[in-house]
């Protein structure tokens, strides 16, 4: 099985240039290390999980990748429609443009990723309007469709997210992000603050969307069940460093690094 996966992986590589190519990415907070010398390639259609204990640098890395934070060193080359570009050295307008077209960002706390004073439909429609949609009926139709895809009843379209449960808010945030068909989705603990049963449903939904849309994604989580379900590849972080990376099943079934072994075993004990 792992060998077969390796083959698929190799053929993917042969077919396409990486969607995202990260080299030597480093971010310090004063003397403290946020993340250090992180390098990896992400290929179109791949989902990569980043795991590690709290404080290991996952959020810092994701923020640097998504352009929310400027790294101290390294490059993040994204395959734009016009060819590969280092997003670290891009102008801010260009980066913000990417952020509302090719990229999406799902925050752990839906309040950080939603407009709480705007209806569900308006939340989903915002990205459409941001890229120039000017037909109300068309925007509403698309919003309705996307609410359906994240299992929110169409008659909730004019309700505000504050009237939604935590799980619904998170699904709304996902709809709002995916409506414009981004090519790369960043997620920071997307199932983080939710009850276990709600988490499972959200994971199922995410898995379905990722498969249907052929999404490329980078998912930060401390939950190995999440990566097992969603991620093709896995990166393990400790103290800001990547200590191990590889195909998810390989890393989880046969962890090489002592820290990964600990992580995996502590999960198995649960």
């Amino acid at each position: 099985m792992p060998a077969e996966q390796m083959d698929i992986f190799a053929s993917k590589k042969a077919l396409a240039a990486p969607l995202l190519s990260v080299q030597g990415l480093t971010k310090r907070y004063g003397a403290r290390i946020g993340c250090a010398d992180v390098s990896f390639d992400l290929y179109p259609g791949e989902v990569m999980g980043i795991v590690g204990e709290s404080g290991s640098g996952k959020s810092t890395l994701l923020s640097c990748l998504a352009g929310h934070m400027a790294p101290d060193a390294g490059s993040v080359v994204f395959q734009t429609a016009a060819g590969p570009r280092d997003t670290v050295r891009m102008s801010e307008p260009e980066r913000r443009m990417l952020a509302r077209t090719d990229w999406a960002f799902v925050h752990q706390n839906p309040r950080d990723g939603l407009r709480m004073g705007v209806s569900a439909g308006g939340n989903v429609g915002e990205r459409l309007m941001a890229v120039g949609a000017r037909h109300y009926g068309g925007i509403r139709e698309k919003a309705t469709d996307w609410l359906g895809r994240v299992e929110i009843a169409a008659d909730r379209i004019d309700d505000r997210p504050s009237q939604f449960s935590g799980g619904m808010q998170q699904r709304l945030q996902i709809a709002r992000n995916l409506v414009t068909g981004p090519r790369l989705v960043f997620m920071d603990e997307p199932t983080g603050g939710l009850d276990v049963s709600v988490q499972a449903r959200l994971l199922d939904l995410l898995r379905g969307l990722v498969r249907q849309m052929g999404l490329s994604a980078i998912i930060v989580t401390h939950d190995l069940a999440v990566v097992r379900l969603l991620a093709d590849r896995l990166m393990v972080m400790k103290g800001g460093q990547v200590v191990e990376q590889g195909l998810t099943d390989q890393v989880l079934d046969d962890p090489q690094h002592g820290y990964t072994q600990l992580l995996v075993s502590s999960v198995l004990q649960v």
């Binding site: 439909g121 308006g122 915002e126 941001a130 000017r134 509403r140």
Partner: protein, 289 residues
């Protein structure tokens, strides 16, 4: 203290120069909100201190000033601002739109077409059109500079979703010269078309918020809308009960406690001139024989 103790237009020359620089910058970058160091004026905020400072910086002794509030020359606010400049600048005043060289206004654009020889100064309470949906000033500034205006349409979307149509009827947002989105101050959207291609200079002053912005003559000003919900410059579906005008913006006035109403032009100069010229409306007194 004698009235001659005031500098011309109340503000000192240095302050007026500072305001003029902000105005010039505003004219150079139409629709862009220029910060300025707003001064304390001898009237409360909300009484148009931004407009008053802009007017003070623009007035010359030869000017003829008109001040309107909701279209009327005779409201308390209009009267007190007019007398303020009579006292501090000694300028001539008028109620006739056509005769004025500078018009300070709150909530209306006069009905009569403006000319290249005129300046229209608006009193602005909240200059930032993105404020209602994005309260962070750092973020709205960035949105303007990067022309990220999707949120303006989110506001209009919310309007239609809630009311079945764009319910915003005052301070209806506009795009200026295809660049900056601007709040035209709380004029009725009926007046929005008059912002466009206007021969007069239009200046906007927000005192409390310390912002000045401007439209040079003949600026292209477009009201935001959706393809399937186009902008409509609506007004009450009546004619003026005093002068019979079917094209002017109307105020609804309750005339008794039986629910009797009448509709009258909000622009008192326009209405008065029509009546003087013999025009009649539904409730005009019968003609003297």
């Amino acid at each position: 203290m004698s009235e001659t103790a005031y500098n011309f237009g109340y503000l000192d020359e240095q302050t007026k120069r500072m305001i003029r620089r902000a105005i010039l910058k505003g004219l150079a970058v139409p629709g862009y909100q220029v910060p300025f160091a707003s001064r304390e004026m001898p009237m409360p905020y909300g009484w148009g201190t931004g407009g008053v400072q802009v007017t003070a910086a623009c007035l010359t002794p030869e000017d003829r000033l008109k001040v309107i509030d909701q279209g009327a020359d005779d409201t308390t606010n209009a009267v007190s601002i007019r007398s303020f400049f009579q006292r501090t600048a000694g300028v001539a005043v008028t109620g006739a739109t056509r005769d004025a060289t500078l018009i300070q206004t709150r909530h209306r654009i006069p009905e009569a077409a403006l000319t290249e020889d005129q300046i229209l100064v608006y009193q602005v309470p909240i200059p930032e059109p993105l404020r209602f949906i994005e309260p962070r000033e750092t973020e709205t500034r960035k949105m303007h500079s990067l022309q990220e205006y999707g949120l303006m349409h989110v506001k209009l979307y919310e309007d239609i979703a809630r009311h079945g149509q764009i319910a915003t009827s005052y301070a209806y947002p506009v795009a200026v010269e295809g660049r900056y989105v601007m709040d035209p101050s709380p004029i009725p959207k009926f007046d929005n078309p008059k912002l466009n291609d206007c021969p007069a200079i239009q200046l906007f002053g927000a005192g409390r918020e310390q912002r000045i912005y401007a439209l040079p003559p003949y600026s292209k000003v477009v009201s935001l809308d959706f393809d399937d919900h186009p902008f409509v410059a609506s007004k009450a579906d009546h004619a003026c009960d005093l002068c019979g005008s079917g094209v002017s913006y109307l105020d609804e006035v309750i005339v008794d406690d039986q629910g009797g109403r009448m509709f009258v032009c909000s622009d008192t100069d326009y209405c008065g001139a029509r009546v003087a010229a013999g025009q009649r409306g539904r409730l005009s007194p019968p003609e003297a024989a």
